[in-house]
Symmetry: D2
Subunit: 381 residues, 4 copies
């Protein structure tokens, strides 16, 4: 059986989550390959060694350049803060490695477009860590759309809500531009943009309001002060127009009391509708308009191996974060083995980054802002 | 006990709903007055007679002018299509009657502002039929906000979704300007705007996309054709900025498969959050941020007589549409008896109409549009 | 139009609830008759007068015998405590009146069987106030069963849960035998027994445990002390066997923290299943086993005028306690006009009372106890 | 770091599930030991080899005796059909191995009591695969009970529902005594008995009805035919009395259309209540009776690392079947390292088996049946 040796760059929370996923992915489904957790790299040598030991990596180190040029390595997995993504990814692709990169893909849409261009040039497989989209219930939604059973999409409503702004969350660096962040619109909003674009194609224009909040104060801060150099939105609302004519409503808030980690969407179409909520991740709610008059209403469909990407025969067994992360890497590995492409690719992530930047620009300029058009055809893998 | 004699103008569905509410209101709570369903007027004499008989009105007729100038009448209740509202309301107020008017209050914000000015001039009590806002769970949400327990509001997310566009719905005249409609944004979206303004104060600016749909076709129609003279939106999405700095995300769709009659909102604030859904109308979900770390989460609070406007001692007994309509008229009657003001008044409805027009203008012009500022102080009664 | 004059005996909470229902019933649907609230009788003359005035009754009085023998009266509605039901009902039926009686129908199954026999003898229409069963969603469940779409019933699970035991609830007299009660199994459990027998036919045997609780103490009291002369169960659990072979699991608790007024059931059958919860009273959850492998799951069906007993064209408009009470009296009136029978009749209620007594006997004797067999054929009206 | 070498006996579905759990357990939390998947044994050599390769076991084999006497092995994990459990477990314990055994622990309560006695004798750590109980939300429920915050327990309602009876489920062997099964009461009902006993202590008496169903037929079969030698119940209902005086209602059905894999319970106590449903496994619903009158109701608490056994800092991240299985083995490993005991032990499982047998006996004999008393003190580890 083929072995795929991985170098993991970055030993924090996502490093642990990916390690779990690498362990589960080949056990849960027959991939036709073994994933070997070869080397874990971090700037902190002690952390790297400790994490490697606990998380099952053969070696640890501090030199990412050495790791990515190591001929034994097939896959480079980038879990560093975003300001380092471009440099590492370009080097890895130049070395012919397949690259998995956490989101946000980079500090800016410009950087991410350079990364997408380099990926196309290098001919390697790239994938970005928008993990939630791999939930079987969402894959089932896309299958229903592709099959025509739902008819033509009309309206999308999505939200990502957390209450992390109320705590002393170390992840809050994600909100600050100086530390490579793009606000909560970029950090969590990007997931719901990804879901929308996966299902409906590209967003072309947005109008938006974003806000920042200083914990302990009452109400939003004056965003003109803070949405400048050191952008730190804690949430926002926007409306979007898709190339297809579909319209969408979006909301993001990291100061949403009581919402732990709720990413969700509703999609109305001409012959039906679907509804997904990560807090009920095992199921998709589906409505068909052509039911008999006394039987109309949403069905609650628990996914299993009858649905795309599902493993378990018994629906309701219990899909979790680990499962969805493992599916993410199963797809990546299968794309590598098949010599094809993966989704969401660097090109997809660059487009999402473009949407995030358009949202911020729209909020600051008080105008509808166009999203830069994708330069190559979107591939749904 | 004082008697309040009512003239009902318009014998359709809303006439029936109001008749039910008039019957229930004084039985469910001690109003200190009797409501007498005196005369039901409709252009169709047969319909008027038949409805009066079934719905318990003493008399029927076809001459609304005669009815509203009848000295015996205290209250004129207008349930006609909107294009007739202004003329009837102005005449009724000129005759010194208190006026209850169904929503939308009029064909245009301009008309509704004239009605509001006439109401102020006449010194009568006016109220507009935004019935859903009177749900005890929503009144409780406002009480929590007023008490400071939730802190300062941050973000509002509201939606009103139906699947009426899929049927041959006689109410679809509401969508057409020619028949006095203001699209589904005006017809159902106005309810969620009313809830938002009741809780958060006035909306000042909006950006929007609206769409029309021709049943049987695939996807939205070309809205540039239809959103002209004979405006017929079937839904839309918008973002709004409130005077207070709160931001909001809104969605309306009458082509939302599986959604029967779902008006709902979520409100995040600095110390807590609330969530309401008409399909669970008996309860308010409430979260407080300062709970202990292992006890955070939404509470599901079923309303009863411990909550504002609630009647029943036993929570969970079963609040329905009839109850909420009755509460609406209880408040109207109490305002009349107290010589005070009612909410939502003509002035409130005129502002809502202004928001609806701003949404349509924003959608057509592709720009943020300011909502005309209210000329008098908002009164929360 | 025919007029049906009502004498209401008992001016407490249920008197108010029935008054509301009489007001709403003929407005919400065309009954072909007017219901006239003629006289309200209570032992407390002041209460009777005050309630009559507020609740719209023409007259009040203290002499129930005078009221029920008044030739102008068509319907006697008994809302007194249960120990007075038999005497009043027998007298009213002897006077040729149709009788509506609140539940529990009497102090004992023996009394209730005498009442049922008298009703058969008198040839009048009788109905007992098991109001919840008239919810359109439950009527729809029965329609699905009758149609064969669900196949043959297999297992029933029902519960009625409240937290009234924690408060100083004046209704607690219902729990004490001395004041005509039959414990919470009789007071609220009877509703879920009624639903089960309406859907599945008669229960034939039960095994049970019941318990009493003294507020302020920790844990159940020693039931051997209290389940004697002055029976006061606060809840219990039982298993039941139906004549059809279906098996059922039941639970009742008035000390169920957080449960306001939750009556609910689930029914599994060979081709499908249904689920009802009064807290979601507008909808029935329905599953069909023969769906395609990727579309199995419960549908959430909001009832409207496409479903039996539903009024409103717009599903989701908001069915409440008032609506369901009004449906209850619509059915009673229609049975009177048609010269037929109503459900649940005195005979049905007598059988339910027999089940309640069997549960108490089973709990005390530690054995399965047979329910006395119904002496006449059950009629589903 | 200490290494614990595992021999897995049985290469079917549970073998895969355990392999996943062994991979995840040490990555998700610092155990202070490494779990080494050493040898996978199955009677089918090809299956053993294939599964070992995919699931990451170093070796495979067909000789379970060789495996369990191998000095390198620390843990024997038994995933065979139940009729082989006793022999393997006794041999493994005699060899001084710690033993993890899937449920049902054996063919009969008698066998399981012998196994429990041998475990006590051998002084090894034993644990049985009642995996669902390890859900952090359930551990939190027990913590709340232990802390006294809920007061004294009053009533328990539990159910385990599936629709597996409708399909050609290879797991149906579990229902047949000839193949080591104890019906669905034993197969899935045992999980909810385990949860009840974990929270409330031992069940002492039961009354029950069980039924069998032949797919394709209408209604339950004549159970007197089938509940004999080759016991195959497809579900049942029972009431239980606990040693503490708490009463409980239970239902199990494998012919519950629309229920995928729903194990759930509700527990009412004197100061509060909790509710758990595996389909919402991430959260516990908690009510406290002493809330202010307008704030009573269930809270929806998503578990995280603030709750017992929780790993993730971010509540709502997504607990799944894999997580809960991994927690199960984390506890087993920690008990081994600490030289203590694990729960549920062989003794606990033997008691559960006793309850299952009492349910079957109660159903057949039509009487309340006592559960054999545990011969040694229950240990909650």
């Amino acid at each position: 059986m083929r072995e795929l040796q991985v170098a993991l760059i970055g030993g924090g929370f996502m490093g642990r989550a990916h390690s779990l996923a690498y362990a589960v992915a080949p056990l849960a489904a027959d991939l036709g390959a073994r994933i070997v957790p070869e080397v874990l790299v971090d700037v902190d040598a002690d952390l790297a060694a400790r994490q490697a030991r606990q998380l099952g990596w053969r070696r640890s180190g501090t030199d990412w350049r050495a790791a990515i040029t190591d001929p034994a390595i097939d896959i480079v997995d980038i879990c560093t803060p975003p300001q380092f993504h471009e440099e590492i990814a370009l080097a890895a692709m130049a070395a012919g490695k397949h690259v998995f990169c956490e989101k946000p893909i980079s500090n800016s849409a410009e950087e991410s477009r350079r990364m997408a261009a380099a990926a196309r040039e290098a001919g390697v497989v790239t994938q970005v860590g928008f993990n939630y989209r791999h939930t079987p219930a969402i894959s089932f939604a896309r299958q229903l759309l592709d099959s025509g059973k739902l008819g033509a999409p009309l309206q999308f409503r999505g939200a990502y809500l957390q209450e992390t702004a109320f705590g002393a969350d170390p992840h809050r660096w994600r909100a600050k531009r100086a530390t490579g962040g793009s606000g909560m619109v970029g950090d969590i909003g990007s997931h719901v943009i990804d879901m929308a674009e996966m299902l409906l194609g590209d967003v072309v224009r947005v109008a938006a309001r974003v806000r920042a909040w200083v914990p302990g104060t009452e109400g939003w801060t004056d965003e003109s002060v803070r949405l400048g150099e050191d952008l730190v939105d804690d949430g926002g609302v926007w409306v979007a127009e898709f190339a297809s004519g579909v319209i969408g409503s979006f909301a993001v808030n990291a100061a949403a009391s009581g919402r732990k980690n709720q990413v969700r969407f509703e999609l109305d179409a001409t012959r039906g509708a679907v509804e997904f909520n990560w807090n009920d991740k095992e199921l998709l709610r589906v409505s068909y308009t052509d039911e008999s008059a006394d039987h109309r209403g949403f069905r609650t469909i628990h996914t299993n191996d009858q649905h795309p990407d599902g493993w378990w025969r018994l629906a309701g067994l219990g899909t979790g974060y680990v499962d969805v992360s493992a599916i993410q890497f199963q797809k990546f590995v299968r794309a590598i083995l098949a010599g094809g492409q993966a989704s969401p690719s660097f090109a997809d992530a660059a487009h999402i980054q473009g949407v995030v930047e358009a949202i911020h620009a729209a909020a600051v300029t008080d105008r509808w802002v166009d999203v830069p058009v994708r330069t190559e055809r979107k591939v749904l893998a």
